[in-house]
Symmetry: C2
Subunit: 473 residues, 2 copies
């Protein structure tokens, strides 16, 4: 495809996306087709001869788009948001066009340096502790997801626990990872990948009201394990848990980790973005105790997946744990020690130029624009929570410090399951569920920049009406 | 940013990329600026108020582009290619615009199903063994890179070696991974991440002439380890090693793995793409022994990074090793068992809609178009190798079955290092190096669809002239 062919086809694809966004509100949020429906419409093998872009775009509209869950839909309130934005898409488009492989500084100096600067910009935007800035021993890097950030933190923690011998001798199964019963499944998955197994994870109980990790229980578990010859290697605290956005108390957890020399990773995948607003930084109190920290601009900061921002306080320790330097990657810049090679900060070797989308987003919105976006989400969630609170049939299940509301019909689980199914079957809105203290709970997470009071009110109207049918007479 | 604002800004970015591609040949392949030059030009913090797209594009052209290594440049012959193409960029653009999170089938049915079908299309295009098709117990998935594919293969192998208990109890340090001394560094990194440590990797010697793994040495190592109470868990064979594109002999390695019940992963990251051409499938002989296999469409198949295609013969075993199912991800489709949830096939939870770029590439080029691309690369490499062969000052260091030529000035390393530095300093071409049997060796890897006979001949002219200066009088 020549540059001129690309130009013409590129305009057509840009038009396709602009039209898709403009018509999103008219689409059902989710497909109602059964498994296999899309695959059945596709040829069983690739074409021998090439086809024009128009043919592909036709099928895109006809076969693919109707078979999607529309994450950018204003009625999408499921999971956590994974919103993108125009400037993010443009930054990603530039990245795709440049096709730069940023594994080493030398393979894309501007790719590496823009990333370092963007992570410093983000650290400033969130007012993160100074230890995470690249101007000192720390620094930030883009990971694909918080799962990978947690895995990397786990590996560094194991290396530290083994006195720097982990990378040669491997993992000792006496090491343990501590996190709350409400923590994300990626922590168990990271422990498993790192060779500790599910048995290597200690789930610490939470405060029944706040769903936040009990520092007392954490201390007790660490002390009991130490007494039994087990080695506490890592604590993962969560700022904004997946179920209910609970905030683990870092001011109490941090000192426990410091006392016992345990690596502390803070997972603020969803809620970290809120800290662009000074009044929403409460979750970061005590963050100066953390050895590493991450949040996902791809969740609530208008940056398309994948973009997890991960910081460490000691970059040297991270690189020591992960670096492998074969001859074919050696180069003068690396040998000089004057550059960052981000391949040593992550699992894969290769890397895209993801800093571009952050650069586009931060510049196009500015900090004030991002604050406005976050505040709007929080206000919409509060508006929805007010509706729930005012309706005696419902109860709020947990605090809603950010933009997620957890609620349920009072009483047994059955009607709640029924309610969720009925609400999602309308195709107008999409919610997901969780269990809080064993009870089936609905989650409404606001995040789309397209979601307005109208959409939240419509969601409530649908829920309220469906509840009438879901509750047994 | 409204859809209409995006439409206008999108045209401008498409123009920027088309112009960038059209003017690539006029740019130096690499930046000559020292570390820190780009960062020094950027503001130290993010803007408070938003800025227009035009301002960002101006800085993109002024600050970022000149600070890059231009991987799409027709004179880029370094590492392995990581070429993109117009249709790939368009597919990625659609993916960014849709902003679909494909972690579960339910969160993007078409995202999952198109991926399954595209991996089947690729399997057909490469004529992979039937065991890897989704129609049986196997199937394919997109990983970000071959590094991650190797890691996943390592984890499944460990789970199998532990009789299905790995995911609970963790890794046993008596397990060993076997690969050749010429294998990629990602195999050591995967073993380290999985908790085996560098000590858990046995590097098997290679045939001095072909640089391919010795099956005799592999058998001897496995037998010796077994006798010593060590458990051989995984063999990673390479089709197209990074240094020289050596092909490990699967027809001999496979039976050794089968005999001792060792998981066999085949890493064809670079060379796998060649198998779209029937006459270049020699490296896949014996692939029916493999438990898993991967290659990178993002290297030599005109698909932008990241896109590693990874297949397993037993998808159930893979999912068993990696799945974690928290309540907030439960859904009716998953419970039905009728769908694939690709989150269980990889390290991270989240996933982009990367099948779109494969769909765009496979349809726009067609199989014949892709064959033409591969054959042109092989022919250009052969053309360059002929030049080397005809010049008595030089020697070819290894066979060149694909599109990589390894060569050097006869004699000591010094002049070769000098030669590489002089060649790259011209800014017209970019090559990298390796060591083959300890000797400094230059690598010229053809891959860009923009590279023609003119560029290869120019590369040779530059090298030939620089050699005159690099050889001591």
């Amino acid at each position: 495809m020549t540059p001129e062919e690309f130009r013409q086809a590129g305009y057509a694809v840009v038009d396709w996306i602009a039209d898709y966004w403009a018509t999103l509100p008219q689409r059902p949020v989710t497909s109602q087709d059964p498994p296999g429906a899309v695959a059945a419409e596709l040829p069983s093998g690739p074409p021998t001869q090439g086809e024009p872009v128009e043919a592909i775009l036709t099928d895109l509209g006809k076969l693919v788009a109707p078979g999607l869950t529309h994450w950018q839909h204003p009625g999408f309130f499921g999971y956590f948001p994974a919103n993108t934005s125009g400037p993010s898409v443009l930054g990603d488009l530039v990245s795709a066009g440049l096709g730069v492989q940023g594994m080493l500084w030398a393979t894309g100096p501007a790719c590496t340096e823009l990333e370092t600067v963007m992570l410093d910009w983000l650290a400033e935007a969130l007012d993160l502790p100074a230890r995470f800035r690249s101007t000192g021993r720390g620094g930030g890097v883009i990971q694909d997801s918080a799962s990978s950030a947690t895995l990397v933190a786990t590996l560094v923690a194991l290396h530290r626990a083994a006195g720097g011998r982990w990378r040669e001798v491997g993992v000792d199964r006496r090491y343990r990872v501590y996190t709350s019963t409400e923590a994300h499944s990626s922590i168990e998955k990271a422990a498993r990948i790192a060779g500790l197994g599910t048995d290597g994870v200690r789930l610490i109980e939470v405060d029944p009201a706040t769903r936040a990790m009990s520092p007392t229980a954490l201390r007790a578990a660490i002390e009991a394990d130490r007494a039994a010859g087990v080695v506490p290697a890592l604590v993962v605290a969560t700022v904004g848990t997946t179920s209910t956005t609970a905030v683990d108390p870092l001011p109490q957890i941090g000192p426990v980790c410091a006392e016992y020399g345990v690596f502390l990773h803070v997972d603020a995948a969803y809620a970290g973005a809120a800290a662009v607003c000074p009044e929403l930084r409460f979750g970061h109190a005590g963050l100066e105790y953390a050895d590493s920290y991450c949040f996902d601009p791809h969740k609530w900061l208008l940056t398309g997946f994948d973009c997890d921002a991960f910081w460490v306080a000691d970059a040297g320790e991270l690189v020591e744990a992960l670096t492998v330097l074969p001859e074919y990657l050696r180069n003068a810049a690396t040998e000089s020690g004057a550059v960052v090679d981000y391949r040593d900060w992550q699992v894969p070797l290769g890397r895209r130029f993801r800093a571009l989308k952050l650069w586009f987003v931060l510049r196009w919105y500015g900090i004030e624009g991002l604050r406005e976006h976050i505040r709007r989400g929080v206000a919409l969630a509060a508006r929805f929570a007010d509706r729930v609170r005012a309706d005696d049939r419902f109860e709020l299940v947990a605090p809603h410090p950010y933009a997620l509301v957890c609620f349920r019909l009072r009483g047994p689980d059955g009607p709640n399951e029924e309610l969720l199914a009925r609400v999602n079957a309308t195709g107008r809105v999409f919610l997901t569920h969780t269990r809080v203290a064993g009870r089936h709970t609905l989650r409404l997470a606001v995040g789309s920049p397209q979601s307005t009071e109208t959409h939240v009110d419509e969601a409530w109207a649908i829920i309220s009406e469906a509840a009438a049918d879901a509750i047994p007479a």
